[in-house]
């Protein structure tokens, strides 16, 4: 079922196509301009929503400023003096705490995208990692005595394996029977959510041994908590588990290295760009699918482990309604699937998240209960615009008009 016969392109035609391809490539993989404009557009519309609520333009600006401060980003501003306790720093810590899992879930989506796969399962993979680390960190020490370092390492490994295994199921199904990964990953998400709710819910097998009236897991062993480790970095930001930040940075580096510096990354990218040429070149497309999903799942699983070991310290059933995996999709899309992009996009979304939380947003300026839905709206708009590649479309149209004028002459 092919389209009507096309003539093969002549040299002149191909030259023109080449220029266009160059431009598109720039926008697709490396441009920072398009994501910036997209985010700006989304904020503009978000601003319109705020305007509809507050009916005054200065209030809109105030709201955004309040969100900015709520995220603690004003700590970076040079004119900001910090008293004791340094409020912006505390808020910044919270932002960074949210940044970590967003980076990782963003990478989970981005890595799969690079292989041409849409990984919506970041949420399930994150939770799988969290569950695995709770089991290792809370249940295992009850039976086996382990010192902190191997315990934490084991947790991380288990979490990565859990996330990877879950995602690999989707990859495997796609590789063998061609099952669409969007459907399978969504289904797997919900399966993990319910299994987790079952495990730690009332009368669940892993419910807390002491507090039987709340659906919560056992607390993790003290040795597993990674906040206890060392003191370094800026004196203001001591409330942060630095290991988490470190892992996030390392993950970004690993992501970039994997994709650009290994044969595996070469295969993944080739399959993502052109599976047919990859096949022709001797690459196994099926294997790439499974590996790409597995690695993606490992990233997301790590996020789960870091959250549990870093500040959650236990899991309760409300944790299973978090949306971090889904925001990861927005992060990857906005960040154009590059390490730098994901890092920055994650910062934006983390700032949005903490900046609008009830604790941090000044209720005088904008009611915080409204702020969280506002964030979700802005996220939705970003995803919508990125999906339509709206900026590229507008620019393309202008380019085409220019070319047509040139050709007709």
């Amino acid at each position: 079922m092919t389209t009507v016969n096309q003539q093969t392109p002549t040299p002149e035609e191909e030259e023109a196509q080449g220029a266009l391809a160059r431009y598109l490539h720039l926008q697709k993989a490396e441009g920072l301009l398009a994501p910036l404009i997209t985010a700006l557009l989304a904020f503009l519309i978000g601003g319109a929503v705020v305007f509809a609520t507050t009916k005054s333009v200065p209030d809109v600006l105030q709201t955004y400023r309040a969100i900015f401060e709520g995220a603690g980003l004003d700590w970076f501003l040079p004119w900001n003096t910090c008293q004791d306790p340094c409020v912006p720093a505390i808020k910044l810590e919270q932002t960074l705490l949210v940044w970590v899992p967003l980076v990782l879930t963003g990478l989970a989506v981005a890595f799969a995208f690079r292989c041409g796969l849409f990984n919506i399962g970041g949420q399930g993979q994150y939770l799988a990692g969290a569950i695995a680390s709770v089991i290792i960190a809370a249940e295992l020490p009850l039976h086996v005595d382990l010192s902190p370092v191997p315990l934490v390492l084991l947790c991380m490994v288990a979490a990565m394996a859990a996330g990877a295994g879950l995602a690999a199921i989707a990859g495997f199904l796609k590789a063998t029977v061609g099952a669409h990964e969007v459907i399978t990953t969504i289904m797997l998400n919900w399966i993990v959510i319910w299994v987790g709710t079952y495990l730690f819910g009332f009368e669940g097998p892993l419910q807390n041994d002491q507090a039987k009236e709340i659906p919560v897991s056992n607390n993790i062993a003290d040795g597993a908590k990674i906040t206890q480790v060392g003191v370094w970095g800026h004196p203001d930001l001591q409330g942060l588990p630095w290991i988490s930040l470190g892992v996030a940075f390392v993950a970004l580096v690993i992501y970039s290295l994997l994709l650009n510096r290994t044969t595996l990354g070469y295969e993944v990218r080739a399959v993502g760009f052109n599976p047919e040429a990859a096949r022709y070149g001797g690459i196994s497309v099926a294997r790439s699918y499974v590996l790409a999903m597995g690695i993606a799942g490992a990233f997301a699983g790590t996020a789960g482990a870091l959250d549990v070991l870093g500040w959650k310290f236990r899991l309760d059933t409300t944790d299973f309604s978090s949306t971090i995996g889904f925001i990861g999709i927005a992060v990857a899309l906005l960040g154009r699937n590059t390490a730098l992009g994901v890092g920055l996009a994650a910062l934006l979304f983390a700032a949005l998240q903490t900046g609008t939380s009830t604790r941090n947003l000044d209720p005088e300026i904008f009611p915080p209960e409204l702020a969280t839905p506002l964030t979700i709206i802005i996220q939705g708009l970003i995803v919508l615009f990125v999906g339509a590649d709206i900026v590229v479309l507008l620019l393309l149209r202008r380019l085409r008009r220019g070319r047509r004028a040139g050709a007709a002459a």
Partner: protein
């Protein structure tokens, strides 16, 4: 052979369906009212189902064979577990009439959304945003009924909100040719944000009004209780006598959709656009218009599911009320092979597992939670079990480019 005879599944497919029935029997044998409590029974019957399923699978009937194998395993498991619990507990959980009524109530929102998804996907546009559209219907119907004092207007406002979401999805997917899955995900985000925002703004912390809210009326069919024999009448009465208007609309809708999509020229054109838009274009069908209409319709139907959920079932709204039902509806659509009756059966199946989960709370809170995962497991099996055959509309997900 009569037309009906032609439609009966032939050969191994029939055998496999029989296997499914046998698997279900394995569980039924232990549960009330039969209540045969020897664990040997579900084991053997389950094994028979498993074997039948495997046999059919090997001989090429992969899809239904997989179902039979699953039914065998599941039937055995349920039957076996049932033998381990007390008769009283079982009787408390398995009250068939109430269970069936509950099934219908849980299934109806799914049904509307699945039928909506059917239109969109049959025209070639993937609609992951059913969840968001449903949510919009939920909120706006409650708000509408509250503000206008009439449930009919509430329903209409709810449906309108779904149509708007459908229009947005259509615009981005069809005109801008953006990625349809990303677009659907965005719709879900937006719907959640918009409904939560408005909910907090309008209803704040006290929640939607519970008294005085005009809700969709129930249709009272008490005459069902009088049908002999006593047991049957009791069952039918419990199951059907107190159901909501929308439930019956839903039932009618299944037939209506079937006729519309498979028995009318409009339906033929719709399906042609989803299968091979170029061919449809060359005979003069407007692909874009058809797809726009289908997607907007899917928005309306999906929101109808939400309307029933809020205004007919729960009678209130709270943020993220749909809690993933839109995705279950999508799963039901796929499970039902993009056909209205198939989707309806799938919705009943999923509805049953939700209903069972609810009544299992009597028995054990945690096991009931585990049951909630069942629809998703079944869907993965369905999607994976369709090996080789491409059952979705052939050109689904690919934007159409006119040359």
């Amino acid at each position: 052979m009569s037309r009906f005879g032609e439609r009966m599944p032939q050969g191994w497919k029939a055998v496999a369906w029989a296997g499914v029935a046998v698997g279900v029997l394995a569980a039924l044998v232990v549960l009330p009212p039969i209540g045969f409590r020897n664990p040997v029974a579900p084991t053997i019957i389950g094994l028979i189902a498993l074997t039948i399923g495997a046999g059919s699978f090997i001989r090429g009937e992969r899809r239904v064979g997989a179902y039979a194998m699953t039914a065998g395993v599941a039937g055995f498991a349920i039957g076996y577990l049932a033998t381990r619990s007390s008769v009283d507990k079982l009787d408390a959980v398995v009250i068939w009439g109430a269970l069936f009524a509950s099934t219908i109530r849980f299934a109806t929102p799914l049904l509307f959304a699945a039928l909506g998804g059917l239109f969109s996907e049959r025209s070639g546009v993937v609609n992951i945003g059913l969840e968001g559209m449903m949510l919009m219907g939920s909120f706006f119907s409650i708000w509408g009924a509250d503000v206008t004092g009439s449930w009919t207007l509430g329903v209409l406002i709810g449906l309108a909100s779904g149509a708007v979401m459908g229009l947005i999805h259509a615009f981005f997917s069809i005109t801008l040719r953006s990625d349809q899955i990303v677009g659907g995900t965005a719709i879900n985000f937006l719907a959640l944000g918009i409904t939560s925002y408005l909910y907090v703004r309008i209803y704040g912390t006290q929640g939607t009004p519970s008294e005085g809210l005009s809700t969709i009326p129930d249709i009272s069919l008490n005459f069902l209780y009088d049908i002999p024999p006593d047991r049957l009448g009791g069952f039918l009465g419990d199951a059907l006598a107190g159901q909501d208007l929308f439930v019956w609309v839903g039932v009618a809708l299944v037939f209506a959709v079937w006729i519309a999509v498979f028995k009318t020229p409009a339906g033929l054109r719709l399906r042609s656009v989803g299968e091979y838009p170029r061919a449809a274009d060359t005979v003069g069908i407007n692909v874009f218009l058809t797809r726009y209409a289908a997607v907007i319709l899917s928005g309306i139907l999906a929101s109808a599911g939400g309307v029933y959920l809020a205004l007919g079932f729960i009678n209130s709204f709270e943020p993220n009320q749909t809690a993933g039902r839109g995705f279950i509806a999508l799963a039901a659509l796929i499970f039902g092979n993009w056909r209205p009756f198939g989707a309806a059966v799938a919705c009943l199946l999923f509805g049953f597992s939700s209903a069972l989960a609810k009544s299992l709370q009597e028995y054990s809170l945690s096991v009931s939670t585990l049951f909630e995962a069942l629809p998703y497991v079944l869907t993965i099996i369905a999607v994976a079990g369709v090996i080789g055959r491409s059952t979705p509309p052939a050109s689904i997900g690919k934007p159409y480019v006119k040359q």
